[in-house]
Symmetry: C2
Subunit: 525 residues, 2 copies
């Protein structure tokens, strides 16, 4: 399969009329063939029209059909083989091992959502039977989560597969019964074109309606902004920077008809280290943390960015050990030049802050490469500088030294929303961390006990989100079984003839799903 550099508008390819651009190999700093063509605004409109038309026919398909499509997409992505991984590697600088793992996760997600939609209980079907003898007569009322309509998906640079064209947002939106238009990230257009081709192939093979999926290439924000405003688009999802996510969220809310827009914008991911854990297994923790920070050059939304370490000698030595681990590692390749420039600029800013002590920083880094950096400060200074809570995307973090539990509580209370918060404690310290854990649960979507925030497990219970600015709405998650709920609308039927009801609400329960019947959970299977 070769790349032609054009978008997918349903079954058709886009033209070459839009802005042309090329991907860059960040390791070499050199442009990659071929030339790509951004979708024109007219092409964006055409994709929206196709998605709008596909909405009802796609929603009407039996869920097992949608599951077939998602499984076929996973198969087709795997069938792309080595050329996909090689292209992704050249476009992102990520290692083959990482990309192999990410492809596995991408396909596992597609198959997990296929299983969820095929099983069917996720729609939260509810039946309140009527009672004609009551005065006034009680109507029969039945409701469920139905598809919301065309979903617009924006990809980040750092997950060219698992959060991109056929990533979790796309997979969950399709599983929930919605057409998807995905705007590819300009830094990995070739990877996007490969994956989009696989999804289109799967859609055609499994008989999906045209418009169920489109992929638009874009070298700037104009196509995405146009579509966020398009009345045919009914929901959006974004993974990426705070600035980008917040701007698109605001745009979606300023439409004449605001739409749900879920933005996952990364976070600080604080790690709280307790004295007992430090004493018990300090060296192992230093190694574990260094590995977590260095993973993919720190370019994870769950990368640890804040570390709370006890004051005193034990903490001093531990930090020295940690810094040695980090200093020994080679500088990783960053995803693209823009991220690298931001990283260097932010480190320069921090280096100039008088109350931040620089514990690790190389001189002028090699272009495109990110050596790890560590700053340190006191609890009091951290509390006085909320601007240090801004995430630095890359292998950098801030150590805050504390001396009392009260300081930890003060810091926890001052933290903005985060995707995760980790507590590292010894078994004997469990009662000491109870209150802190409780406070942190208000500020982070996922609390971790004695583990690193990177390496998110994907399952029915997964929460990947959190209070603003980690995500735009703390009631939803972009990863895991609940991710479908973002792309639904509640719909109820009152006193309807059984044959006119969706199968999930028919009296005989032909889909054998779990339902809430007259307030009681009635199991499926």
């Amino acid at each position: 399969m070769s790349l032609c550099g054009q978008s997918w508008l349903g079954w058709r390819r886009g033209t070459a009329a839009g802005n042309s651009f090329q991907a860059t190999d960040p390791a070499a700093g050199l442009p990659l063939e071929p030339v790509f063509h951004g979708a024109t605004l007219a092409e964006a409109d055409a994709a929206a029209e196709l998605a709008g038309r596909a909405s009802m026919p796609y929603a009407r398909l039996a869920p097992v059909r949608r599951a077939e499509f998602l499984r076929a997409a996973a198969d087709a992505i795997e069938a792309l083989g080595a050329p996909l991984l090689e292209r992704a590697r050249r476009e992102t600088g990520l290692t083959e091992a990482r990309l192999t793992g990410e492809r596995a996760r991408t396909c596992a997600q597609l198959r997990m959502f296929a299983a969820i939609t095929a099983e069917g209980s996720w729609v939260d079907a509810r039946i309140d039977h009527g009672d004609p003898r009551r005065q006034p007569p009680k109507p029969d009322l039945r409701s469920l989560r139905a598809p919301i309509g065309p979903v617009l998906v924006f990809s980040p640079a750092n997950f060219p597969l698992a959060y991109s064209v056929a990533g979790g947002d796309t997979a969950s939106a399709l599983a929930a019964g919605n057409p998807v238009i995905t705007v590819a990230h300009y830094a990995h257009p070739g990877t996007a074109e490969f994956v989009a081709g696989a999804v289109i192939q799967a859609a055609q093979k499994t008989g999906m309606p045209e418009g169920v999926f489109s992929m638009l290439l874009a070298s700037d924000g104009s196509v995405g902004e146009r579509l966020v405003r398009d009345p045919r688009i009914k929901a959006g999802a974004f993974t990426g920077s705070f600035a980008g996510g917040a701007a698109l969220h605001r745009l979606a809310q300023s439409r004449p008809d605001p739409i749900p827009f879920f933005a996952e914008m990364g976070s600080l991911n604080p790690v709280f280290l307790f004295p007992g854990a430090l004493a018990e297994r300090g060296p192992a923790l230093a190694e574990t943390l260094a590995q977590s920070v260095l993973l993919a050059a720190g370019q994870f939304c769950t990368s640890p960015g804040l570390l709370l370490v006890p004051e005193g000698e034990a903490g001093d030595h531990w930090i020295e050990l940690l810094v040695r681990h980090l200093a020994a590692a080679p500088a990783g390749v960053m995803l693209h030049a823009g991220i690298w420039r931001n990283y260097v600029r932010q480190l320069d800013e921090r280096a100039r802050a008088p109350q931040l002590q620089c514990r690790l920083r190389s001189g002028q880094p090699e272009p495109g490469r990110a050596p790890a950096a560590v700053f340190e400060t006191s609890a009091a200074a951290f509390l006085a500088h909320p601007e240090w809570q801004h995430e630095i995307f890359g292998p950098a973090f801030l150590i805050v030294r504390y001396s009392t539990p009260a300081q930890l509580h003060e810091i926890a209370a001052a933290l903005a929303g985060s995707l995760t918060a980790a507590l590292w404690a010894a078994a004997a310290e469990q009662s000491d961390i109870r209150e802190l854990a409780e406070a942190l649960a208000w500020r982070a979507g996922r609390l971790i006990y004695n583990g690193v925030p990177t390496g998110l497990e994907v399952g029915p219970a997964t929460v990947h989100g959190g209070p603003w600015p980690a995500a735009s709405d703390p009631r939803f998650t972009s990863v895991g079984g609940r991710a479908l709920e973002r792309f639904t609308r509640l719909a109820a039927w009152q006193d309807f003839p059984d044959s006119l009801l969706p199968e999930e609400l028919q009296e005989a329960n032909p889909r054998q799903i779990s339902r809430l019947v007259d307030g009681r959970c009635m199991g499926g299977e």
Copy 2:
């Protein structure tokens, strides 16, 4: 119990320093004693501070304690007896029978939410067990819906009890574990003060933390706008006009940290009448529809505002019958002068539209009273005038005549979001309405077969919401068992010691709730 005209800030009363205002008896057009004092901005801040402080202690209480509070509030409202109903009648012009029914619904809602929170399965607890033998080891992941924090509740004029101070928004927010600040409607401050006193009494009696509930009086929008922007407020709920709801929703989304804000803004509630139903039971339907339109002078968010009637003689006769029913009814009292002025102005505007035929309209109506009004037009003219989709709040509706099923589909496709849509058909017409029902399910939160939209049944399956502009987010409902979900955040715990987990997630399931364990629904009880 007498009225003092001041707000409740936790256990304390507000001062008399704010703007003073009085309620008006809309039937007599005369002011009612006593003088009320709007909360000052400083008092609004104080309420937010108290709510913020109450957040964690209230969330920490066992759900059965929250249930006790809600049940005590219902008991205390009932104990207010006749003076509450009398005050509400004088402030709103609603009948005693209607208010007696509304009080029953209010208390039933409080008790329903008490039962839901006490039972506990609503938190959607999920457990994905870990597997230390897997490579890499699979972590143990557990998650649920947790309280979101202080909720701000705005009341409408038309439900002084069931959607007001202790209405469904307040009850569901409290049941979900959140403190509530409610901004009373200026048209029924005495009713608000009575009910707030009952809630405060219940909170104190059941040992709730101060700040769990505050009630702010307001004669204008300044206090509400201040609180929508307050960083301590974590979610909002509004029931009322489109203009008010849309403005507050936008304000909430323009905060530095946007918050979930659920606005229920009313709708057109179309009724589709099919020829078979007309032939089979036309006279009964005319009477039923007239009753629904006249209920509380048409001042329901579910009042029918659009009626699709077949062209031809049968339809003509039926409309004459319907108009006779409406003309024979006395003009109802409207809730307040502002609503009455709007009603008269909107009827004047419609009367001037050349393509609208006026089928029923009295001359200059008596001040404060709303005679029914009926306009009629063709399907083509309706499609050409989207401005006629704007809801007229009161006993007025628009009849659109159709001649073909295709016209009905065109109209359905052109409709904005609505709370309800009703289909009136004969049994033999069921196959004819299938596609129309399917199309309408995308545009309305609740589809009704052969029934009127007024008289919403409250239960686990209820959906009261819909696509914009019916509500600000189609994924939620403001009434029924799912209403709690609006006021939550997802929270997950990874590899946590069992004793540090919320009870709902502990391995032994001490609360005996239904949970999703390793992807399988495991029943409670």
